[in-house]
């Protein structure tokens, strides 16, 4: 005789729910280990988050490591490659001690209460630009009207930059045709004529296009609306725990930047030692590095020195991003919440 039991399905459901939730909790727990200050016998360990893939764009970090600047500063540095949104969360958690990120990520993150701050400028000029073959006739922002623009996605630095650029000319996204390339193939799309223009990094896609013999026009947002370029970002908890180490890291990195600006070959050699695959095309890597150095040397850097933070530019960026339609600034914040002077040498 089949006996219906109310308890059996209920108990089974409760056990299943408990197992599910504990699994989620365990996963979150392993992902959110606090960052304690781990001291090797002589050196402080730092996990450094760089961009998506190893690149000559990070030559200053490679040189500082290869030349022993970090070791001299009492640091034991490990590099990790992560995309910007993941890096912000890892910095806030403390899993990564210091990383590179720009204002288009930091401002939304801080407005959501994520505890990160910006401590030193690396790129004094915003590196994300709109580029097009000269034949497309996009010499000014107004020329984008009616054109198709390739973009990785409707999020991130290129999305914010494009909106700010268009707004500077009294235009909006309705005035252009946005085509998304989630595989970051917008540079290839421009080369093949699939789109008239595209967003990209001034030290990447335009360089690749020019080396293929295509003359390129570049529209820079910091000519019309300053956005803070990528710099050193830390979690506030890590900053409290490792202030001296992070300041020493900043100083060593800025020293390497000065060395490379004076002699780019030093940056190339350090990069090739670190990422041998890039040595296959030294001319292209040199072109990328020179464009990178140019992006380091914006007006503020030339006037105040490398690493200094332009608070006026940050305020301007905050105002721009708050005013954008579908703004990603979730709650009002101030520049003081975004920036710390603790990393300045």
């Amino acid at each position: 005789m089949h006996r219906h039991s109310f308890r059996s399905p209920l108990l089974t459901s409760l056990i299943a729910a408990a197992v599910m939730t504990l699994s989620v909790g365990a996963l979150a727990a392993t992902a959110a280990e606090p960052a304690d200050e781990r001291e090797a016998p002589d050196r402080t360990e730092l996990m450094v988050g760089l961009g998506f893939i190893p690149s000559v764009q990070f030559a200053q970090f490679y040189l500082a490591e290869e030349a022993g600047y970090y070791e001299d500063a009492g640091l034991d540095v490990t590099f990790q490659n992560k995309i910007d949104p993941e890096l912000i969360t890892l910095l806030a958690q403390g899993s990564v001690d210091v990383g590179m990120a720009d204002g288009t990520s930091l401002i939304p993150a801080v407005s959501q209460g994520i505890p990160v701050v910006y401590g030193a400028t690396i790129y004094s000029r915003f590196p994300n630009v709109v580029f097009a073959p000269s034949s497309a006739g996009v010499g000014a922002v107004a020329d984008l009207a009616g054109k198709s623009v390739g973009i990785p996605g409707r999020y991130g630095s290129s999305w914010i930059m494009l909106q700010a650029l268009l707004a500077s000319a009294g235009m909006s996204l309705d005035d252009v045709e946005v085509v998304t390339y989630p595989d970051f193939g917008q540079g290839v799309a421009v080369a093949q004529g699939q789109v008239d223009a595209a967003t990209g990094f001034v030290n990447n896609e335009p360089i690749q296009l020019e080396r293929e013999g295509v003359k390129v026009d570049i529209l820079r947002v910091d000519d019309v609306a300053p956005l803070p370029g990528p710099g050193l970002v830390v979690g506030t908890r890590t900053l409290e725990a490792k202030t001296d180490a992070l300041r020493a890291f900043t100083k060593a990195t800025l020293r390497a930047m000065e060395d490379i600006a004076a002699d780019p070959q030093l940056g190339l050699d350090a990069t090739f030692a670190r990422v041998p695959e890039l040595a296959g095309d030294p001319e292209t890597q040199l072109a990328i590095l020179e464009a990178t150095i140019d992006a380091w040397m914006g007006e503020h850097a030339l006037g105040q020195g490398l690493g200094g933070v332009d608070r006026d530019a940050w305020q301007s960026a905050l105002d721009i991003m708050t005013a954008l339609p579908d703004s990603v600034v979730a709650s009002p914040i101030t520049v003081d919440q975004l920036i710390t002077d603790a990393l300045q040498p």
Partner: protein, 273 residues
Amino acid sequence: MSAPLARPASEPSSTRTNAPPAKRVLRDVVPVAAAAAAFVLIWQLVVLVGSYPEFILPGPLVVAARFVSGWTEGVIGPHFLTTLSEVLLGLALGGVAGIVTGILLARSRLAARMLSPYIVAAQATPILALAPLIALWFGTGLASRMLICALICFFPIAVGTMVGIRSVDPRLVELGRSLRATRWQRLGRIEVPSALPQILGGLRIGVTLAVVGAIVAEWAGGDQGLGVLINLSRGSMFDIPLMFATLFTIALLGVALYLMVVAIERRLVRTRT
């Protein structure tokens, strides 16, 4: 005097559906609700005990509030409608193709020998790897996303149909022949109705896979949809409660579509019995 007839060991379905409403609620709804309540309680406890900040693991009340505000502020709605349209169109395309292919595989040994390896190979290839290629070939518009959804739900529906058609009692088919039913009449009036439980079983699996397909397709290229909203909330807005609310919306969509198929199955199959 004859002994009373013993009640069958398993109750027929008509007895289960004819139970009093209070008993049906107790049997069908209360366990699910209790499990959900326990899950929410344990989730909240984990957040409190672990002191997790919102950007790591927001609590259920925070997510619930963001879910409500996400809908009332019009953030989630447009993305939901886009994903829903992709799922329904993809399911229609994949469902029709799956049923037709399943019938073909069941009725033609040659077709089964020719097509089966390629169908299995297509199913074994991760849709996450195929989606960017499809977006490259067909663009990032609705057509490619619908195709990706159709591809992912095609296999279970085709297999369910094939198994169902092959399982039809041959005596019924023979009866149809003896009554001079044409091939199409035998298919439409005997074989497909007999195979309905298996076809709808494949559709149950297919409908949840179609939701997965829509999200993957949106990640491969799309301007709108719940998959796009996940990327926006995580990578642009850093609004983790909104990301969780979007995940919850996706889960609700999958459950709702699944229950819809179950309801259709109960109606169609119960009508037959």
